[in-house]
């Protein structure tokens, strides 16, 4: 009958709305369900996943030595020209000329964190760091030189 159908329709509609309202009221009253992490306040306790790809860095030891031989494997592996290796000639103690890296230029503004350079590096000279706070006011600050000034290649790394 028409009128019963009409009332059923109204009842069904109102019920479905009330079910939704009950669910939202549950969340309104249960604050333990809140999952917000307060970023700038939790900086001290914030731990990134160990594999998180934040930026490429070149670890140096305490004697300011790195492991990069300048083989350019990373530069070749990089799909979008993020890494540039610039060479210089160095004199070894024996008085011979030796090719070494002058600067390893890394364009963070181009980098897509694809990890291919780290995979390609034969001497584990570069790795991915877990830093992520890369915001700057000036784009030129994002072009970085990975090796420290005056750094040398570690002994024994060929």
């Amino acid at each position: 009958m028409f009128i019963i159908k009409y009332i059923k329709e109204v009842y069904r509609g109102v019920k479905s709305l009330l079910v939704g309202m009950k669910r939202t009221l549950y969340y309104f009253t249960h604050h333990k369900e809140i999952i917000t992490q307060e970023y700038p306040d939790n900086r001290d306790t914030l731990v990134m996943a160990e594999r998180f790809k934040g930026e490429v860095v070149m670890p140096h030891n305490e004697k300011n030595e790195h492991r990069c031989t300048g083989c350019q494997a990373c530069e070749l592996a990089c799909p979008n020209g993020t890494i540039k290796v610039i060479f210089k000639n160095e004199l070894t103690p024996e008085g011979k000329k030796k090719k070494a890296i002058d600067k390893l230029v890394y364009h963070l503004e181009l980098c897509t964190m694809c990890n291919l350079c780290v995979e390609a590096c034969p001497s584990d000279a570069i790795k991915m760091a877990q830093t992520f706070e890369h915001s700057v006011y000036d784009r030129s600050e994002l072009t970085k030189i990975l090796n420290n000034p005056g750094s040398k290649i570690m002994d024994g790394v060929e």
Binding site: S16, L17, V19, R23, R51, A77, P79, T112, M113, L116
Partner: protein, 371 residues
Amino acid sequence: MFEEVGTTTEGDIIINVGPQHPATHGVLHLVITLNGETIKKVEPHLGFIHRSIEKMCESLTYRQFIYVTSRMDYLSSHINNHACALCVEKGLQVEVPPRAQVIRVLMDELTRIASHELWWGAMAMDLGAFTPFFHAFRERESINDIMEETCGARLTMNYMVPGGVMQDLHPDFQKRVKEFLQLYKRKIHEYDELVTGNIIFQNRMKGIGYLSPEDAVSYGCSGPAARGSGVSCDIRKVYPYEIYDKLEFDEVLETAGDSFARYMIRLREMQQSIRIIEQLIDNIPDGDFQAKTKAVLKLPKGEFYQRVETARGELGVYIVSEGGTTPYRIKFRSPGFSNLSVLDHIARGSKLGDLVAMMGTLDLVIPDIDR
């Protein structure tokens, strides 16, 4: 077939939706001819995010080009990478170790769930309900955490490489996935309470945007958009790749062909993905995660094609090789492009509010359409 853009009759107005518009989920431009609130014609304009990925792949080596494809359909980036890796492996004739295969399938299904979660929230937001978006992101964030722990990134991971995967699974992977499954099962009924059962939602979805099976086939639709019309087109069933032929899962089909059917397909597909994950999570075989491949990959001369099922439908990768280190030509058959082409057909005669709902259920990712 090609009507002129400006032709209108008396009383029609033309509005431009996009390129910047909250409902287009990106930079799609729709020129809509309206008569009052009724849609007379929808004309999608593309090119606002054309990044020439296909052309770009021609100058990248077979190891390098995979990462760019994450940027196409960024919501199913793993599956895109998977398709490219499979296609290169086909050319190289490399046997992928069983462990890598299982890891790949697990990652694919997690990506599919994450993609559908985002779709669910975004579609509810298109319809004006904001709360589901936040609840969907709660589950999605826990998948993102799993991804981040193993692959090192949240969205564009570049985890699949020719021959396997880049790194082994994180030791916590199984534990975290099980935690996610528990969370998901605890929260799944809320999806029905908040959205599916809601009378307003049902009225806005049922009978709207009808797509007949014939049209779905002739427009080349795939994925949930076609399965909502009852067209069986799940690549995982029709042309199984990896270990999908050994897994137990159902191809989800609905026959109504309207927006609600497409909505239900995705919700039920998430359940099937959960089923696949549950089958695999305790049975990850030991062994290598990557097959031995040469440092520089060279595909033999020839043409290679591989299709996979992304969260949006059928993705085809077509590589023409001249025998060098870079492909001669790459073509992607993206699901979004065909699914978008049907929009004008299903939207005519419905209201402007319905258009938003239809676009939501077609689940368009614009960079996937434009590439």
